[in-house]
């Protein structure tokens, strides 16, 4: 292996590509060659850093120097100053708080905050190079399981003990889900990785897929072994071009090194993975709709029971797990359930990947222990509100979550606690709204989304979303706003109680919470 004086990491994701990172990389490499520096500076592509709004970014090791908002005009200066003379270009440095956390510069004041689990290697390793994953204990977990012949029961037991809950939004215990499928009868079983990240304001799974695809593959392998499945599918959002490309590359590498395919590690365990692209329907993030879609049918939810765990894809027992859930598996197997439980809260152990967006200073992705408060995230990692804005509302958990006002900033974020406060943690999206937002307008945009995304199968959701949208429009001009708000509450309650799937059921969270916390504003306007 060659050694270099400097490692320069370029963050390649959709937003940096849009900012021109590819051209930047090409020029950087050409100029390094011209300066005869190719043997001393290694340019590496890595996944997203998790931070948005920094344009083209470059991290240089050793030194943990993070440059941001770069343009090609900055290249000469970086080469001359940093790579030749060893002087950091101070004017180009960005150092967001979250970035400090990631690179351990935060110090020992809060031990819990110093660990990422699923994102520990995102933005650190080259996701297109399987060796970099190997170097970080990649595929060690599945290797150990197979070589030491750990029984599937035991693997499921470890996941159960870890207390890991599904990170797609519902928070169902993963170990229990696996156990249903493990015990289900069937010659063919399936593992489906739900990478159809469709929740507005959520892009956490993309970061994992782009930053460390092998971590997801290893999670699927372990899930397959634990449940007796020999086939896995990654149902990936069709718009996620880079995720698909990286995942395809990861798959071909895994096959190349016999980490997928027949008789892995000589254990007799075989596992294959295929990618299926989604077509963009929100409801296809719901597991039974996803399965219908995979079978080539219309993406509408199925009757439950039977649940996918026993009757899923093609009627066979099927585990459907979210990307983030699967990314937690290998670390838990390597380090143990106890280790995992040392993060987060008692009822919801582990970390959660949150997406911060809206009117905060820094938007992006952070991985934090369950139980972190909204205030910590918004002010600690989001850098607080943008200039001259004040916080009015937080839409938590995705579009179908509740909208809170400032009074709720100190509730600890885990599944139980948010549920107890009338909301849901969902996908972990934190949309921060400032005083510039009209809450009726906001509710209208939420309801338009639901009207658009309702699959149309059941009466309450299909027609209810349309009538709610009509009513929120009426609120603009009506003389009897209070009556309308009450009827909206009532209708959303019927939708909650009678809708076929969570899409229609969860609409009451935004509707009723906006009424509860911002009703006065709407009535006054």
């Amino acid at each position: 292996m060659d050694f270099y004086n400097y490692y320069a990491l370029l963050y390649i994701d959709d937003s940096t590509v849009a900012a021109g990172v590819k051209e930047f990389e090409e020029i950087l490499k050409r100029k390094l060659a011209a300066a005869d520096l190719l043997n001393s500076v290694k340019v590496l592509e890595t996944g997203s850093s998790g931070l948005k709004d920094y344009g083209i970014g470059l991290s240089v090791y050793p030194g943990d120097i993070h440059y941001g908002n770069l343009s090609t005009a900055d290249i000469d200066e970086i080469i001359n100053e940093h790579f030749i003379k060893g002087r950091v270009v101070t004017r180009l440095i960005v150092k967001p708080p979250e970035e400090q956390f990631r690179t351990s510069e935060l110090g020992p004041q809060d031990v819990r905050l110093q660990n990422r689990i699923v994102l520990s290697l995102s933005g650190v390793i080259d996701p297109e190079n399987i060796f970099e994953y190997f170097a970080e204990h990649g595929y060690e977990a599945i290797g150990k399981i197979l070589e030491e012949k750990v029984s599937p029961e035991k693997v499921v037991g470890i996941i159960k003990n870890s207390g890991l809950q599904g990170r797609g939004g519902a928070g169902f215990p993963t170990g229990l889900k696996w156990d249903f499928t493990r015990k289900a009868e069937g010659n063919q079983k399936y593992i489906i990785c739900n990478a159809d990240e469709g929740e507005p304001g959520t892009f956490k799974d993309r970061l994992i897929l782009e930053g460390n695809p092998h971590l997801v593959l290893e999670g699927m392998l372990i899930a397959g072994y634990a449940t007796g499945a020999a086939k896995g599918y990654i149902y990936i959002r069709g718009e996620y071009d880079l995720s698909i490309k990286r995942m395809e590359k990861a798959l071909s590498q895994a096959y190349e090194y016999n980490l997928l395919g027949h008789n892995l590690f000589g254990s007799g365990f075989s596992f294959d993975i295929e990618i299926k692209k989604g077509a963009g329907a929100y409801v296809c993030g719901e597991e039974t709709s996803l399965i219908e879609s995979m079978e080539g049918k219309r993406g509408i939810p199925r009757l439950k029971p039977p649940f996918p765990g026993t009757h899923g894809l093609k009627g066979s027992p099927t585990v459907v797990n979210n990307v983030e859930t699967l990314a937690n598996i290998a670390p838990i197997l390597l380090k143990g359930a106890e280790w995992f439980r040392s993060f987060g809260t008692k009822s919801c152990p582990g970390t959660k990947v949150f997406t911060i967006l809206g009117d905060v200073r820094y938007t992006g992705i952070v991985e934090l222990p369950m139980g972190t408060t909204l205030r910590q995230i918004i002010y600690g990692y989001g850098g607080g509100m943008r200039e001259q804005r004040s916080l009015k509302a937080v839409h938590l958990g995705g579009t179908s979550g509740a909208v809170f006002d400032e009074s709720m900033l100190d509730i600890p974020l885990d599944y139980d606690s948010v549920r107890n406060h009338g909301g849901m943690l969902g996908s972990g999206a934190i949309l921060v709204l400032s005083n510039t937002v009209n809450m009726r307008d906001y509710l209208e945009s939420v309801l338009l989304f639901f009207k658009h995304e309702s699959c149309g199968k059941c009466v309450p959701c299909r027609i209810g979303t349309a009538r709610l949208y009509d009513m929120v429009k009426l609120l603009e001009t009506s003389d009897n706003k209070e009556l309308i708000l009450n009827e909206m509450d009532k209708l959303s309650e019927t939708m909650n109680k009678t809708s076929f799937c969570p899409l229609g059921q969860s609409l009451k969270f935004p509707v009723q919470s906006i009424h509860q916390y911002f009703g006065d504003e709407i009535l006054r306007s």
């Binding site: 149309g456 059941c458 009466v459 027609i463 349309a466 009538r467 009532k490 019927t494 009678t498």
Partner: protein
Amino acid sequence: MGKLVTIKIDGKEVKAEEGANLLQAARDAGFDIPGLCYYDKVSPSGACRLCVVKIEGMRGLTASCTVKVSEGLNVTAFDEELEDHRKSLTELLISEHKFGCMTCEVDAACGLEDLAYRYDVTIDNLPYPARKDLLPVEATSPVILYDPNKCILCERCVKACYEIQGKGILSFAERGIDTYVATDLGGLWVDSDCDGCGECIQACPVGALVPKPSIGKARRWEVTKEETICPYCGVGCRIEVEKKGNEIVKINGADGPANDGRLCVKGRFGYEYQMNNDRLTTPLIRENGQFREASWDEALDLVASKFTEIKNNYGNDAVAGLASARCTNEDNYVFQKFMRAVIGTNNVDHCARLCHASTVAGLARAFGSGAMTNSIKEFEFADCILVTGSNTTETHPVISTYIKNAVINHGAKLIVVDPRRIDLVKYATLWLRQKNGTDVAWLNGMMNVIVNEGLADKAFIESRTEGYEEFEKVVKEYTPEKASEISGIPKEQIIEAARVYAGAENASIVFSMGITQHVTGTDNVLSVANLAMLTGNVGKLYSGVNPLRGQNNVQGACDLGGLPNVYPGYQKVNDPEIKAKFEAKWGAKLDDKVGLSVTEIMDGAGKGTVKALYIMGENPMVSDPNLNHVEESMEKLDFLVVQDIFDTETAKFADVILPSFSSYEKWGTFTNTERRIQMINPVLDPPEGTKDDWDIIQNISKRMGYEMNYTNADEIMEEISDVSPIYGGVHFKKLGNDGVQWPCKTDAEEDRGVLFLHEGTFSRGLGHFSPVDFIPPAELPDNEYPYMLSTGRILFHYHTGTMTRKVGALNAFESGPYAEISPEIAERIKVNEDDEIRVTSRRGTIVTKARITDKVAPMSIFIPFHFAEAAANRLTNDALDPVAKIPELKVAACQVEKV
């Protein structure tokens, strides 16, 4: 019936079948839980959510239509909260519904209207404004109108199309509030593969899908409903006729044993002929080349005197009669009794000669009985179905749905052997495309594989059959290579088909005219029987040999002795004991020699040996082969009597025309293709001036000095059960809605006949293997006539078109003659789609339209025979099977030219 368990609904203990649908069980127990999407014939959707209930131990509310009954369920069906939600859901539905019940076809029979009444919801008291914009109505189908503004998107139609009919043409298009039901994801209905069966209409709980021909015909409360049996094909579907006054306004599928409420386009929409003004309503007598109206007395006197005169002058055998596959069992019994006891001849036959004579002959020899061994609904549960020479989708549409159910719902393997790419090919595991008329070769080839690979059922052969050794010798010669060479089927496919068929737990063979209408028809049938016996696939549930009979009562017309060689119940005319029995019963001297068959009767007429012909409800001037020859024969007859409801092509040659009842006006029985004797009911009053067929016959009989004094069909059936053992236990009062399947020999109420034949022992004792060698068709393409011609039926028309061509809805699907020609022919003779072409054979020529399709094999042509103006039978070959006397309608050589 499953185990009964106890559940609790609103505190009341209810017994219900374990695993039953909870909503259904609750409704059965008197709990009127609302619900629009539940439909007991398809899988539950849980879409309307109206049937939500609370179940102890389950979180939240649950749609009861999605729950299976299990011991101890504790259900709350009604409380304030549930009713609030139900009202709220009703408000949502009404807010999306086009308001206009007073002009709606289903007003007073609408699930949504009932719900609105129940929860007091109107367009005016909604908590929000109702939707105002309207979507366009889809009215391009000839028979179905879809109004998306009335649609509640319950999915019942979509599921009915797929799960019941096996078609899968309907689906939802768009999404959310914009969703609507569509063909081809949003294409025009008329451009889709929808064949208009109307199963979707029947499934619709509101007025979104309505039958176009019924629009504006009647309010719901003006109609009365009566059930009877469909007048068309041999499936014998039970129908519910809705009438206003004496006019049919709508037909629905009823839950009959053969159809479970399913129908095809003809059954549902093919009733308009009934109201046609061309109905014959008075007897007609030909005078100086013109027909004139006559009184019944005058007409019947004339018929009686002419028959007597010819009988006296030329002998009994100078008179012949054609019974009818369209008339009732009772009509046919009286007809053949008249011919035998009054005229004194066995010259009685009917169009079964042209369809399944070879089946009757072949299966009688192999098994002892020439009918379907199994019942229609058994197809759904067969593991393997081999369909050959039957375009089931078009000729027996409802039977095809059970075959499709088997494939789609139960994973059955379907093997289709047919020269045409028929609809069932889409559902098939294997499609073998043989050359026309090579059936013995590929059947022997399959059996060769089965024998050589040890797949035969040795125990069955040993214990249940005879003649195996001789048979095996012949089969050994038909290696897959040889079979392939003759039939043109790749040998791998023959081998694969043999393995699939022989490997199935239970396998059923379905065949029809493609097997029977050959000079080797009887041989073909014997080969089919050999294949079933070789693998032990006969005499058990779901497994058997199933010739599909074409017409509504062709089975019955055969059963009741409308054949020249047998009395009713297949009792041989040349058996002295049998003859003596009938002479005693009928009080007349009978003839002991076998009479003439249809084709022989026509020949006899041509040669002048047959002088008089009595035709009841048949139309040989379209249906028989080599029509030019038939026409000459007809012209030579001294006296022709035609008894029918319409002035047919054949009636043009008649000396006397006698107007009779249609099947909607009759009381009596039909026997369907699965041997099921079913009651038909007079749902309409017959037109003034017409008479029932059996009554006409008995009035002629009386005038000829033989007393017949039947007052109704019931009395005739009593006589039938007395003289025909297989109908021994058949009595009108016993038949009920489900009928019985012959053989039904005892009067006991619980004797419903036999579901499948030959269990334990064959009708003839041991099953008989026949060695069968391949013989080529009588006529094959040559330089002069280079193309292969085959004929058959299509879905939208029936037989000679006498009824269906008077139905606007059916004509809208297919209005006139055409010929399917292969693209190779089209290219060679330079014609385009719809161009006029002249088709010529050694026997005649017709002009028709070209339809270019690879549905037919290369260098082949297929012509539907329904259309008299370009009658396919002017071309067909009347070469006969030597045993069954069936003509070779399926193979002829022809020339095709551009006009």
